[in-house]
Structure formats: C-alpha cells, structure tokens
Symmetry: C2
Subunit: 144 residues, 2 copies
DNA sequence: TATAAATAGGATAAAATTATCCGAAATAAA
DNA sequence: TTTATTTCGGATAATTTTATCCTATTTATA
C-alpha cells in the first residue's frame, strides 16, 4: 500500500508528536530505535517531512525534531503520505492506464473508486493527535 | 496498490478471456500490444498465471494462451492478484509491523481494516467474465 | 522426418527503492 | 573562541522490481 519510506515517516511523525507533547525533541537515532527502522534512511525521510512543514528541525547541540503541539491535531495522515509517496495512491489508475476516468475507464475503475475514496477520506480525517494518543494510552504500538 | 507485474497480469488475463470467448489463442506479442506492456516481461507473468492454473498455455505451432470458457466466470480478480503479488495486500500491516492484530495493533490497524476488507471483498467478488464483458462492450479500455 | 512456430526458462541488464557513510554547516555551551 | 552536538546533504552501495535477450523444448504440419 505505502512505500517503506512512508511507513517509517508515519511512525516517526507519531513518535515525534508524543515526545513533543512532553516538550522534548528527538534525534533520528531515538526515532529509529523506537519505530524499528534504519537510522540513516529514517533521517532522510525526516528531511522530507521538514521540507513539507510537517515537522520542525532544530540544528546544533540540543537540537532535534519536534512538532509544534498546537499543530499535532491539525496534521492529517494524508499530508504525511503525500509528502513522501506523492498523490499516486489517490490519483493513479489501479491498472496503470495513463488516462483513466469516467469517459475512458479501465476495467476496474468503478470498483476501485469506492475503495480509493474511502482510503482518501480516512487519510484526510485521521489526525496525528489521534494516532499519538493511541500509542500513549497503550492501545497501539509502533514496533514489533 | 498493485505491482506493475500484477497490473499487466490482470490486463493480460482480461484480454485472453475475450479472445477465448472467440475460440482464439493469443501470443505474448499480441497481448503486450493490446495492453501496452513490455512483451518479454509480460511473457514471464503469463508463466506465473499458467503455474497458478489461471490460464492454459499450448506450446508449439498454433499454440498460445487461452482460458477455458467455462472457467472465465469462476476466476476472480483475487486469484490473479494472489498469483502475482501474493497475499500481502490482505495480510500485511499497513505500517509494516511484523505482528499487528487486535491484541497488538499498529496505530492505524482499525482504520485500515475496513478498507482492506472492502478491497478483499471486491477482489474476491469480481470475476474475469465481468471485466471482459466491459471491454467487449466498449465500456472500458485496456490501454492508453 | 524436417521445419517452422510457439512457450519455457535461465542469464543479464536497467531502473527504482531502500539503506549506509561521511563531511559540511549550524548551534549551544564551556 | 573552541568544542561537542546535531541536522543537512551528497555520494555510494545493496536490494528489489522491472525489463530484455537468447537458447531449449514442444508441437502442428508439410
């Protein structure tokens, strides 16, 4: 469904959100440990999240990554997915046709439409806050 | 969503089904032309479909690929996807956790569950026949 | 039986994705 | 101002996916 990069990005954002609620910044090393991902690769993905204004990075000693607490509830899963995997999951034809729409549909166009729209709705309406709280409460997990 | 190989596989199966209704066999060359795919790669994918008993191959002169007409309505999209991409689309965690279930869910487990189940239902209940008829009637297209 | 026409399948190659490494730049604090 | 800490970013490597090529094998038919 998502690329590895995107999976790491989502999990990293959730962990940064949790730590940000505690007023703490985190390093790629801590993140990689917490979400069970390769550290250097995770750092690259964090750069993408920074460029898309999803997380803030503070350079230098005592630096790290954080998310402005007041933003955590505003950030939706869709933004993270879009920052890393782009919009292909919403837009591209399920069978790879270059042109695929109501006028010129692929054989599964209608069947996929409903599923894709449900996915889109879910991603656009799930906030980082919600996911972070699930982890904090112990109702969900970031690794294993 | 699906791999390129799987996209080609689905489109190839649809085309073979159409030709099989006409009592004709088709070659990888014809298929690749019709679905706009790389020929040699398509041939490899056809081998996988043959191994999974989704299409029949007849070797030698006047050979080619075909699907027993009486089977076309029985073959579901899910079988094709499974033959090429395996069952990861149904089974794997959306965030890549090795263990992800009700007892130990990833943060998006519940949210993905509904979508994945809808996808599964759709794939298991869409027949090759239905898709082939869509192409035959001109209601859908295999390329461009 | 010889020949031409097909698929099968192994060996490679190309491209994309995933992953690692290291030096540069920035910053807080001694 | 120096040092230690930290992100940034370019170069490179490993792996997976996608794609190509060539030969072997099979089979209908002349």
């Amino acid at each position: 469904m998502f690329s590895k990069a995107c999976e790491y990005g989502i999990k990293a954002a959730i962990f940064i959100a949790i730590k940000s609620y505690e007023g703490k910044r985190v390093s790629p090393k801590e993140i990689a440990l917490e979400i069970n991902s390769p550290q250097a690769f995770t750092a690259k993905i964090l750069q993408a999240l920074v460029k898309h204004d999803i997380v803030c990075s503070i350079k230098g000693a005592h630096g790290g990554f954080e998310i402005d607490s007041s933003n955590i509830s505003k950030i939706k899963l869709a933004q993270i997915v879009n920052a890393i995997d782009g919009d292909s999951i919403y837009k591209e034809c399920g069978l790879g046709l270059h042109k695929c729409d109501e006028d010129h549909p692929c054989p599964v166009h209608d069947k996929f439409k409903a599923i894709r729209e449900e996915l889109k709705y879910m991603l656009e309406n799930t906030s980082l806050e919600e996911l972070a709280l699930n982890i904090k409460s112990g109702a969900a997990f970031l690794k294993v």
